[in-house]
């Protein structure tokens, strides 16, 4: 089954976000298409996290419009935010797993909070499937503190993906990981994008951005200074300075 109209999954229209008098984002307009894997780069304080939080409606824009899968996130009431969140998977640098739940329960939790029609047994089955998909099928009964950072991040990816969201946003998903594990996580995220989920990754990891050659959005002091399309990037000396 194909969508009747191919529309952007995420669309920013003249978005400005200010914290007091400081502009975190300044007049950003762009769109992300289904199945895109896009990197969001820029130095600390450039507005990357603010950008992601606007998609997830953790923040509202001061000005402009944010559309996510046809939902007006900029004007969404608090009581409707949960509906939006179920269309947006989120992966954090610090994983944000519930410490008192096992890996399987953490993943199932992501599924069941959105849909009470799913039985416990089915949720656990699907959570196990998702854990197997991220290579952790044998660690379902482990608690987060019994898992390495890379394993916890995989659980977080499985939790984010189990609801089959239209968008997955990842805020420094490899920030706490060694390079080898970081590549494993990125491979997972690439895999997610091939199934049609739009993936947006905020990162400082120049090596990953350079080698994957995907679309790159560069923020500096809240402004979108570069929108580099995927492939054929060539030399990217600018990237190192933009990400430092």
């Amino acid at each position: 089954m194909f969508p009747a109209v191919l529309r952007p999954i995420v669309e920013f229209k003249g978005v400005t976000r200010a914290y007091g008098s400081r502009l975190a984002l300044d007049d950003i307009s762009l769109s992300l298409e289904p199945g895109d894997l896009t990197f969001l780069v820029g130095p600390s304080g450039a507005g990357k996290t603010t950008f992601l939080k606007l998609i997830n409606r953790e923040l509202r824009p001061t000005k402009g419009e944010v559309w996510v899968d046809g939902v007006a996130a900029h004007s969404l009431k608090a009581s409707r935010v949960a509906d939006l969140r179920r269309r947006v998977g989120v992966v954090f640098q610090d994983y944000k797993l519930l410490p008192r739940l096992t890996a399987k329960e953490n993943v199932a939790f992501g599924l069941q909070v959105g849909d009470l029609r799913i039985s416990d047994a089915e949720a656990m089955d699907r959570a196990l499937d998702a854990l197997e998909a991220v290579g952790l099928g044998d660690r379902g009964s482990s608690f987060p503190n019994q898992l390495s950072g890379g394993q916890q991040q995989r659980v977080a990816v499985a939790r984010a993906m189990i609801t089959q969201p239209r968008v997955l946003i990842a805020d420094e998903p490899t920030g706490n990981l060694d390079m080898e594990t970081a590549w494993q996580i990125m491979a997972l995220l690439e895999n997610v994008a091939t199934f049609g989920t739009t993936v947006l990754v905020a990162t400082h990891n120049v090596e990953i951005v350079r080698r994957l050659q995907r679309r790159i959005l560069t923020l500096v002091e809240g402004r979108l200074v570069r929108d580099q399309p995927a492939g054929g990037i060539g030399r990217m000396e600018w990237l190192a300075s933009a990400s430092s």
Partner: protein, 317 residues
């Protein structure tokens, strides 16, 4: 590496779906809350302890207030009873005439004749008076017309009305004591005001301490609230378990305080039935049981309400 894919399954039948939804809701709200409650007993313990103590104090204060209210009614009833002392040797006709006048007075509820013998018998049940009776060869206690006055404010005029009657003892015409009633009223009013003020302060402290304790417990789990919201949990799903946990805390604190209130009251009743009844009239087994139940219900309300208020602070707006 395995690939993430879409899982397609047949929809459940409607009845099975309803069962699943109800089961999940119940499991999530109640079983989940109970499990979290036990897991977080360390952070909940201060709230549980302070709630128990405050609820116990509130229960005892409430029962004390109830007893004072009853005591006031008893005292008021006694204060509005006027003993009109009959002159020794007064003719029956005069006594009857006085009785008729008083009974016909619209300010009077009823009139009862107490003979000298009955007065003596009554005096013997009052501490100190039997010695006076035994010190005399004759019965020193006069006969009286006990006049129940409808309004305490009419006591003075009724006393003035009978003072000059020929059937009445001219030396000690009645039990009317102008200052006594005012003193009683002043004392009872003072106790009532102090009691209400104490209850108000206690209620304020109970609510403040409980909310702060519960807030601290929830604050220590703010990451959990944040994560739940970030993965798309609806607001009721975030709030619900915390409210149920609060209700569990409140119920346990209320049960402990209610049982202690009931136990203390019953201990007081059984330790000195007569004394207890005189100083705390109306406090019975039933009243103590009801007080215990009210304390329990207050605990549940206080716990769940505090949780509701506290968790709201961590919800996104």
């Amino acid at each position: 590496m395995a690939r993430l894919g879409i899982v397609v399954k047949d929809a459940l039948p409607r009845a099975a779906m309803a069962r699943t939804v109800v089961g999940n809701t119940f499991r999530y709200l109640f079983f989940g809350a109970a499990r979290n409650w036990f897991r977080n007993i360390g952070s909940i313990a201060p709230a549980l302890g302070s709630m128990t103590l405050l609820l116990l104090m509130a229960g005892v204060a409430g029962l004390t207030g109830f007893a004072i209210n009853n005591l006031e009614q008893v005292e008021s009833a006694q204060a509005s009873l006027l003993h009109v002392y009959i002159r020794d040797g007064a003719p029956s006709a005069d006594i009857s005439s006085l009785w008729d006048r008083l009974a016909a007075d619209p300010r009077v509820a009823n009139v009862v004749l107490v003979t000298k013998a009955e007065a003596l018998q009554r005096a013997q049940s009052i501490p100190g008076l039997p010695q006076i009776a035994s010190a005399s060869d004759s019965n020193p206690f006069p006969a009286s017309l006990d006049v129940q006055v409808k309004s305490i404010d009419d006591m003075a005029s009724i006393a003035a009305l009978v003072r000059t009657d020929t059937a009445v003892d001219p030396v000690n015409p009645s039990s009317y004591d102008k200052g006594a009633y005012q003193r009683i009223q002043t004392v009872i009013f003072g106790i009532a005001v102090a009691g209400l003020a104490f209850l108000a302060v206690l209620a304020f402290v109970a609510v403040t301490v409980t909310i702060n304790s519960v807030r601290a417990a929830i604050h220590s789990r703010r990451d959990e609230v944040t994560i739940m919201q970030l993965v798309g949990a609806p607001r009721w799903m975030v709030r619900g378990p915390f409210v149920v946990e609060g209700a569990i805390t409140g119920a346990l604190a209320g049960a402990a305080a209610g049982l202690a209130t009931f136990g203390l009251t019953m201990a007081g009743i059984s330790a000195g039935t007569d004394t207890f009844a005189r100083f705390a009239p109306g406090i019975t087994f039933s009243v103590a049981a009801i007080a215990g139940v009210i304390v329990l219900a207050t605990g549940v309300g206080l716990g769940s309400g505090s949780s509701l208020v506290s968790v709201r602070r961590h919800l996104e707006s």
